[in-house]
């Protein structure tokens, strides 16, 4: 049986949590298919990939070069194609992050195989079967892979990383830097003024909408997020369009799709396009002064009332809980 190849993702030389999610998914697939899991990590010389060895890979190969500190699509494509020449991989697995959403289709095109993009579930049962949300999460499509090979990207936060007793061997190999023909190169990365957690990656998201009244009031949500920490602050499109928050914070059909374990919708009405982006959250809490707001139809827990009174109180109580009360 052809093996499973996992592509790990790093930032600043440290593997991201999504890498462990993908290795975990790969292991359970490989066990059912009776095959092995190889992983490759591409990054700067200082890349530390030891973490990946504990989640069920058989072999972790590190391809390090300081040119690969940032994501360089052509280097990744090259590395995977070279690898696929030496060994038969039936499945290439990666996370549907900004990197994975760019790399997955490139690899599928070059390997001449289909891409199952942004799946929330992957299983092997008389073949590989995946589930992927479509129509912005308004429907879920179950697809069977009917090709000998497939690239699959997994939506962040849809797999819980599980440590395994097996430990992978760690190897270093050379990252070929040459490229055929003209390519796009990532020249630099502009970091935001302060490092912040991305809504698509956070396991807790606190989102605010027009009910916040003005941009400065998002401080209330920043404080709540801090108390919950690590949590990200998200936004409805109404406040992004008004320029209160940056586009990267927008949750919904034309923003980001998030699947955190806990989602707060505060002063958000719950328009169909917003729900599309967050309905797969495990637990949804809504705070809204309008008891008929549609958000309450999807929320697990709701409080009706003025957010300006409720949120500060909530932050205080969370702090007490976190302090170990």
């Amino acid at each position: 049986m052809a093996g499973v190849l996992v592509i790990l993702e790093q930032r600043d030389g440290v593997l991201k949590k999504v890498s462990y999610e993908v290795v975990t998914a790969a292991r359970s697939l490989a066990d059912r298919l009776g095959t092995g899991v190889d992983a490759i990590a591409i990054g700067p010389m200082a890349l530390d990939a030891t973490g990946a060895t504990r989640f069920g890979a058989d072999e972790v190969v590190i391809l390090a070069d300081d040119h690969a500190r940032l994501y360089q699509p052509h280097l990744y494509v090259r590395a995977v194609l070279e690898r696929a020449k030496t060994k038969d991989y039936g499945i290439v697995l990666l996370s549907a992050t900004a990197l994975g959403k760019d790399l997955g289709p490139r690899l599928a095109a070059r390997l001449g195989c289909p891409l199952a993009a942004d799946v929330t579930d992957v299983g092997a049962d008389d073949g590989i079967v995946v589930s992927r949300p479509v129509y912005a999460g308004k429907a879920v499509c179950r697809l069977k892979v009917v090709a000998p090979r497939c690239v699959i990207s997994i939506r962040p936060n849809s797999v819980t990383p599980v440590e395994q007793s097996r430990t992978a061997t760690l190897q270093h190999a050379v990252l070929g830097l040459d490229s055929e023909g003209p390519v796009a190169r990532t020249a630099s990365m502009k970091a935001p003024a302060e490092a912040k957690l991305d809504v698509a990656e956070a396991s807790i998201v606190v989102s605010g909408g027009r009910g916040l009244k003005e941009p400065a009031n998002f401080k209330l949500l920043e404080d709540l997020a801090q108390a919950l920490g690590p949590a990200a602050v998200g936004a409805s499109r109404a406040v992004v369009d008004a320029g209160w928050r940056v586009h990267g914070d927008q949750v919904g059909q034309t923003g980001k799709t998030v699947s955190p374990s806990l989602y707060f919708a505060i002063g958000i009405s719950g328009a169909i396009q917003h729900l599309a982006g967050m309905r797969t959250a495990k637990v949804i809490v809504a705070i809204n002064k309008d008891k008929d707001a549609p958000i309450f139809k999807v929320a697990d827990y709701g409080i009706v009332g003025d957010l300006f009174e409720i949120v500060p109180r909530l932050t205080e109580e969370i702090k007490k809980v976190r302090a170990g009360a």
């Binding site: 900004a98 069977k144 009174e309 809980v321």
Partner: protein, 250 residues
């Protein structure tokens, strides 16, 4: 500046999805179809680049059913010069099939730029643009929210987790458009009238079957009915309790 823009006809974002009797597709009755919102950014960008260059051509290409002619007319009304419909009725859920069909049309087109939306809001692949780029061996930036064109050299920015990547690439190239790239124009009445006379070529195509087979399309599992825990700040302790003991997320 010769620019191609690949555009898709998709259900409007307001659409409430109903599953068709076959259990594998949506019931399209009563559904309003629009130009994919991200493709609007791509069309707008193409028009601006052509306007800035002072000459050139913007060609819009859609793969889809006959009704996608309407989508093409929308882009023509915005200002594109001509349209091509790759007519196929089958809905294929393997983006590589769509990419290959578009590549056959694009390959010998002599385009300086080939633009896409970053994502089609129906299938949600986020894939067709970069696939086409790899098949054509062209440099590609996906999900670009900024583009600067210099002399044969271009710079684009794309938002990623924790920052913005600045990408440099030569032309010809493929770019997929994210929100923020520009503010798309609305077709003016004059544009709508003019669009009716612009060339729209219809080419029937036969799509490959693809490597993914739809087993089922279903509505997402209903969320369990939730509870209103109370009114005002007094309900906060009940919420904390529910999150800790019932949901176990705190």
């Amino acid at each position: 500046m010769k620019i191609a823009v690949c555009i898709k006809r998709v259900p409007d974002t307001e659409t409430r999805i109903k599953i068709a009797a076959d259990g594998r597709s949506i019931d399209e009755s009563g559904v309003k179809f629009v130009l994919n919102p991200y493709d609007e950014y791509a069309v707008e960008e193409a028009l601006r680049r052509k306007e800035a260059a002072g000459s050139g051509e913007v060609v819009v290409i859609a793969l889809g059913p006959d009704a996608a002619q309407e989508t093409i007319r929308t882009a023509l009304a915005m200002g594109a010069d001509r349209g091509v419909l790759l007519q196929a009725d089958a809905r294929v859920l393997d983006p590589s099939v769509i990419a290959r069909a578009l590549v056959a049309e694009l390959r010998d087109g002599g385009y300086d730029l080939v633009l896409f939306g970053k994502l089609a809001i129906d299938d949600y692949h986020h894939a067709v643009g970069p696939m086409v780029a790899e098949l054509l061996r062209l440099p590609c930036v996906s999900a670009a929210a900024r583009l600067e064109l210099g002399d044969g050299k271009a710079t684009a920015e794309r938002e990623v987790e924790g920052g913005v990547e600045v990408v440099e690439f030569p032309l010809p190239a493929v770019l997929t458009a994210d929100k923020g790239l520009n503010e798309p124009r609305y077709p003016a009445l004059k544009g709508i009238m003019a669009a009716k006379k612009k060339p729209l070529e219809v080419k029937p195509v036969t799509l490959e079957a693809g490597g993914l087979e739809v087993l089922e399309l279903a509505l997402p599992p209903e969320r369990k009915p939730g509870r209103i825990l109370g009114e005002g700040p007094g309900a906060v302790p009940a919420l904390i309790r529910a999150l800790r003991t019932e949901a176990k997320v705190l």
